[in-house]
Subunit: 360 residues, 2 copies
Amino acid sequence: MRRSDVPTPSLLVDIDSLDRNIAVMQDGAREMGIALRPHAKAHKCIEIAQRIAAAGAIGVSCATISEAEAMALGGLTGILITGPLNSTNALDRLRRLLLRGADVTVIADHPSSVSQLAAIAAEVGRTLPVFVDVDVGMGRTGCLEIADVVSLAKGIAAAPSLRYAGIQAYWGNLQQVMPFGERSRLVGIQTARVRAVIDALQAANLPPGIVSGGGTGSHRIDAASGLFTEIQPGSYLFMDSCYSKVAISETGNPFMPSLFVAATVVSANSPGRVIVNAGWKAFATDSGTPIALRGTPEGASYRYMGDEHGALDFDGEAPALGATIEFLTSHCDPTVNLYAAYHVVRADEVIDIWLIRARY
Amino acid sequence: MRRSDVPTPSLLVDIDSLDRNIAVMQDGAREMGIALRPHAKAHKCIEIAQRIAAAGAIGVSCATISEAEAMALGGLTGILITGPLNSTNALDRLRRLLLRGADVTVIADHPSSVSQLAAIAAEVGRTLPVFVDVDVGMGRTGCLEIADVVSLAKGIAAAPSLRYAGIQAYWGNLQQVMPFGERSRLVGIQTARVRAVIDALQAANLPPGIVSGGGTGSHRIDAASGLFTEIQPGSYLFMDSCYSKVAISETGNPFMPSLFVAATVVSANSPGRVIVNAGWKAFATDSGTPIALRGTPEGASYRYMGDEHGALDFDGEAPALGATIEFLTSHCDPTVNLYAAYHVVRADEVIDIWLIRARY
């Protein structure tokens, strides 16, 4: 199939750009001496996780039990579920993952979770590695008080069916702070907190074996601090219009967009405007509007026009009715979650289709 | 399964409220003497379309070729595809739908579409009914000039493999204009345009057999104008927090919310706040934030906290870790598109699971 003949709207991934991003991150981690456990919340796809693992990642981070199930199905190891599991349903699915022998680590931020996890691991006769999740300023999950972190670590270490494996400290709210210097400064404040947490754990004779965290925007700062043993970036795989503007280091952003949404020109009845069949259902809308790239006159700008449509306003010559237009999305992760599969492209050809198995 | 034990995040539909909305709309259409072709873009589900058909609808409107395929698979008839089909892929799938004997009507807003549709219908040896799509002020699809509408109708009528079946005139931009009187006034302006289009078609000896349009917000005004033979509402099935505020007539809104998103409290480490496992991936974000309903302290308000999480801020007693919270979404159609299935609930029980077959 030719790239311009994909059903629309559809999600395209440029395999060479994807592989280049995977290599750039893996090479960088190697140079910085830090392990890489990239986040499947970005891609939700076995084939992509396998490429990342083949390049040298030590494991795969997952935001949901569905992602962990998909990764286990794909034979991935070093699966870390980065969000707390508390529902009856999620805990039962964790139990079944353990029964099947999946190599899973979980996090906890509350004593009741530790009890539940211990019961499940005991029931299936496995030793379940657990990180204590630390709230490093985001106010989302994790323990805020150092005393609570130490207390949870003690609880995990004391449970015969659990293994206290380390801590997780993730500052999602700082990943896209600009300029880079300001991001470094804010990360520095939270890094001091991580250091205090590690000191307290060491004082309690519970030094964390693993310190996991970091995203695409902060990973170089996190690696440089020397506190983290591994990083969990995800968006570097695809880049989007928001992340593309974010300097990853003092020298810029080495990653390139690899993810695109293809749409078709379905109406062309107004001068300077065509209508495409991609609207609120085709793009994540939380971070703005997509940017028209391939197939479009220079300077064309996109406007949402409802669930299934968008308008492309331009000055140059109109694209033809039926033409395929490709867009850079404003936010990759929730856009991926909208589609059943990636159409994998190399230049003008579709060379494969990869299911997005763990989408909602 | 109990309602509170669904995997989260998940989409729930309350079957009694859904059936009540179906009956209220069908009874209203009957009273107003207008046919009902409700829009599958809202639900994308065979089971729901079948319930609507059983209640008396004459057909089902579809925004995409995927929706038409799902509806045909479910044995639905009177399928109208309300958006222009121009891509090679969509036209080929239309061809295959016709080959399989599906009862499909399409729209056109450009002479090149008419030629393509005529060629496909001729190839499969079917007569394909076609509406001319009229732009009634939205600037999206459709012909703006009356001369173009007449010219397209002539082109359709002249094609041996096509049947000129009527016109479509839809004002999506006016559906939620408030107050009701202002909506009536704006619809009135466009209704005059529809009247002029019909007059011109009659003068050209091409009176439209069917005049299709109308949505949940305008359908009573549209029925009262006497110009439309059928209406295409969809959101009345589910209601959402935006539509719930919209008066459907001078006497208010007779429809009730039937669609909810269930999430789990996954972290509770701050006074006055818990974290749920539903964020930008779990809700359509184009029309604001969801509203917490069942399982939550009175007055709790939701904030997005990234792709997989949200915060619930409240004054009262905290819901327990692991508790299920249900939300009213701000926009039903694109929220439905995020999920694989409806968990169908009646009171506290899950009584069925219906696939959302035509999601992206």
